[in-house]
């Protein structure tokens, strides 16, 4: 990740240490993870100890220190989804993609991420990929969903 890109992000937040978390979110979005050297660079730029950013990077769910897949397959584990069978959907997808919870497929395309309530409980259980939401997913229909995603049409 070029430092020029990081500088752009830092300037957007006026290099204010109070927006450290927002800065890291933009970097995560840009680069799908938080590389160690970038964290060090940001720490120096904000005159913060790198240990604090490392703690932020390993604390919040938005961040990951290892690269995530091109598409993050978010399975909502909210209560409504849970009650309507989200755990079975998560297991089914994990079986389809042959990837453990939080893991990334070998081809780097998909990361399976159980996430907090996405707030559209009406169509529980919900799976979200990028901006697209797929509602009322049944464990049985996971195979077709994964095939559709793999072919790239939402």
């Amino acid at each position: 990740m070029t430092t020029q890109k990081v500088d752009q992000i830092l300037d957007r937040w006026k290099r204010d240490p109070q927006y450290a978390i927002e800065i890291l979110q933009d970097i995560q979005e840009e680069h799908r993870h938080l590389p160690a050297d970038v964290l060090q660079y940001v720490a120096d730029a904000l005159a913060l100890p790198v240990g604090r950013l490392y703690h932020i990077g390993t604390f919040f769910k938005a961040f990951s220190l290892k690269p995530r897949g091109k598409h993050v397959l978010e399975v909502c584990m909210g209560t409504a989804c849970h009650v309507k069978g989200a755990p079975r959907v998560l297991d089914a997808i994990s079986r389809e993609l042959e990837v453990p919870e939080g893991g990334t497929t070998k081809d780097g395309n998909f990361t399976l991420e159980p996430v907090r309530c996405l707030g559209c409980c009406a169509i529980a259980p919900v799976v979200k990929v990028g901006k697209d939401l797929h509602g009322e997913i049944q464990a049985a229909r996971v195979k077709t969903l994964v095939k559709k995603l793999a072919e790239g049409q939402p």
Partner: protein
């Protein structure tokens, strides 16, 4: 909204580059102008574009409806208005035709075409797309008559389904910022505080702390700050200048009230905060919003930009010398950041780790400054309280709050009811309404003819209430007495296919992952309780462990540093209290009555099976065998209990025992 048949005036785009700033004098005129604009149409087509409906196709319906109108050259007669969440999420995508108030549900391209043709052109409402009464099945034309809406009383959600959240004039037309004008022109800060205190409103975030009392102690703390200078003249925010925070972190799973309020009527929140700032003497405010709410964030930013442009936020609000501006902080995925001090820590660029609240936020909060933190719904109520007066608000709900806010729960509460409930969605009902009315009268009861078993209120910090509690009037104190909590308003309805031990374990595991890990009781307590509940669900526990479980819960409840740990035991204690028999079934008979806990259940095919072989085809481990048209058999050892066979079987031939 009066619909006068008139030739529609040419739709004037807002003045070119920058729309005019609004002053106290011109506010009403702007509202009237927009109303005249709307009145110029034969009617309005209100399309719900809340996240729920959007995920069901709301935007597609909006755009194709506009196309249909243009094709039929009706776009001058009917105005399509995109609104925030209408509340009846289960029925999305939703269209409400005004002024007649006709409610259409579950629209798709085909049914929309029919509505456009028969109703908009032909003038005859389409019965097929109307809402069907659950009991009789007859269509109900008018939205107001649908039970889901009938018993509601809207204050925080007053503009839901009416206002276009991305157009400030639409909000002003519905009375937006009128309360702010009233306050700035006719009331002193103390008057605004007085109204809020008289209203007896208690925090909608969950703990239910009286908002007026919180504001008052913050004003006192700022005045006696180190510099002692009264904060009115402070030009540069001095260290004791108070700060306002809106908590839109809404981490409770199954709760989306705050999201809907922001997506539906962002200006209600902004106006509420301006009023709070005026009362408390703050010039800086923050909104801390979850990263999982992109649409709400987008609409909030648009609303704030428009408010600043029109002089309703930032400097010289409504032309007065009152200045107040708001910045947004984005949450990064941490339930603990719903706790005030953890929220403020992450606003300061640090990890969301709570601190001891022996010195309250109103004295020293964000960056050590006196800080008032309130929930989205609380802020959204403030304009109505100022507009209609605290006494009016106090008259709604339970108890007599005139003497003290602790005597009852005034006003209304927004609940998001999800799970095994027919009418999933958002409702706003007066405090004191019975649980039964929310779930059955408004909620439409349990789908699929199944049996009500329990309802969970207050999110992970709340408890599960059984059937016997259905007559409970719902307010802060009654729920607390019953072992649950009002919480933010999430209500998860569960039917008989839900295992209460599994639900308790679900909440404990949720909190185990979300605990910040700083203090022993919460970090180690949650790990230990999760371990014990796990053993119970695997049928490997002894009754003695139940005693151990209660001891752990007590330590967590009393010794945890923050409310996350302190309230974590509620789901366990309430399920133990009301569903102890289910725990004992798991322990003594190694059985899961609801058929959920995998290691205690077996999947069997019953005689209903007609051999259609669908289950065998979908079984991921191919452990179902049987010839065409013959009774199929599941190999119990190979079966991983994924439940797919039961899902796909159309003849209910798979039994879980």
């Amino acid at each position: 909204m009066s619909a006068r048949a008139q030739r529609p005036p040419k739709e004037r785009r807002a003045t070119s580059a920058r729309a005019a700033r609004i002053s106290a004098r011109t506010l009403d005129a702007v509202g009237r102008k927009h109303q005249e604009l709307l009145a110029g149409y034969k009617g309005l087509l209100l399309v719900c574009t809340g996240t729920g409906c959007v995920s069901a196709g709301g935007f597609v319906i909006r755009d194709s409806l506009k196309a249909m109108l243009k094709k039929r050259r009706l776009d001058k007669k009917w105005l399509v208005v995109q609104t925030g969440c209408n509340g009846f999420c289960a029925m999305g995508p939703i269209l409400v035709v005004q002024p007649e108030g006709i409610f259409y549900e579950k629209l798709n391209e085909k049914s929309l075409e029919k509505v456009a043709e028969e109703h908009l052109v032909g003038g005859k409402p389409v019965k097929a797309s109307m809402h069907k009464d659950l009991a009789t099945g007859n269509p109900i034309a008018k939205m107001a008559e649908i039970p889901f809406f009938a018993k509601q009383q809207l204050i925080a959600l007053r503009n839901k389904g009416i206002v276009d959240p991305e157009n400030i004039e639409s909000a002003i037309a519905m009375g937006g910022y009128a309360a702010l004008k009233k306050a700035l022109t006719t009331m002193k800060p103390a008057d605004v505080l007085g109204e809020v205190m008289r209203s007896g409103i208690r925090g909608r975030g969950g703990a239910g702390f009286p908002t007026g009392a919180k504001w008052e102690s913050c004003i006192k703390a700022s005045a006696t700050g180190a510099t002692g200078e009264s904060n009115a003249q402070a030009v540069r925010p001095s260290p004791t200048k108070p700060v306002l925070v809106c908590n839109a972190d809404e981490g409770d799973p199954g709760a989306f009230m705050d999201r809907s309020i922001i997506e539906t009527d962002p200006h209600a929140v902004l106006e509420g905060m301006c009023l709070g700032a005026y009362a408390i003497g703050a010039s800086e405010g923050f909104i801390y919003i979850r990263k999982e709410y992109p649409l709400a964030l987008e609409r909030l930013e648009k609303a704030m930009a428009q408010a600043r442009e029109r002089g309703l936020l930032g400097k010289r609000i409504l032309g007065s010398d009152f200045a107040f501006d708001i910045k947004i902080h984005r949450g990064a995925g941490a339930f603990v950041c719903g706790e005030s001090t953890a929220l403020m820590a992450s606003m300061e660029g640090r990890v969301g780790e709570p601190r001891a609240k022996y010195v309250h936020n109103v004295e020293s909060g964000y960056m050590g400054r006196p800080t008032v933190l309130n929930n989205v719904e609380t802020w959204a109520n403030v304009p109505v309280i100022v507009e209609k007066g605290g006494a009016w608000f106090g008259s709604i709900g339970t108890g007599d709050v005139a003497k003290s806010p602790w005597n009852g729960s005034s006003g209304t509460k927004v609940f998001s009811r999800v799970g095994n409930i027919a009418n999933t969605g958002l409702v706003e009902v007066p405090m004191g309404i019975r649980l039964k009315e929310i779930i059955f009268d408004i909620g439409g009861g349990i789908p699929g003819g199944r049996e009500f078993k329990a309802v969970q209120t207050g999110g992970p910090s709340g408890g599960c209430l059984p059937k016997s509690m259905l007559d409970l009037p719902v307010d802060f104190d009654t729920l607390a007495k019953a072992g649950s909590m009002m919480g933010s308003g999430g209500m998860i309805v569960m039917d008989d296919r839900t295992c209460m031990v599994d639900v308790a374990k679900y909440f404990i595991d949720f909190l185990k992952d979300e605990s910040c890990g700083k203090c022993t009781p919460c970090r180690e307590g949650l790990i230990a309780v999760s371990e014990i509940l796990g053993a119970i669900t695997r049928g490997q526990a002894t009754e003695a462990l139940l005693g151990e479980l209660e001891g752990l819960c007590d330590t967590m409840a009393v010794s945890s540093l923050c409310q996350l740990g302190a309230t974590a035991p509620n789901p366990v204690l309430s399920t133990l209290k009301y569903f102890r028999d289910e725990y004992l079934a798991h322990i003594r008979e190694r059985k899961c009555p609801a058929g959920v806990c995998k290691s205690l259940i077996r999947y069997e095919i019953t005689p209903n099976c007609n051999g259609c072989h669908v289950c065998a085809r979908n079984c991921p481990t191919n452990c179902i065998s049987g010839d065409k048209k013959k009774l199929h058999v599941i190999d119990a050892n190979a079966c991983i209990k994924c439940g797919i066979c039961r899902d796909v079987c159309k003849f209910d031939a798979v039994r879980v025992g």
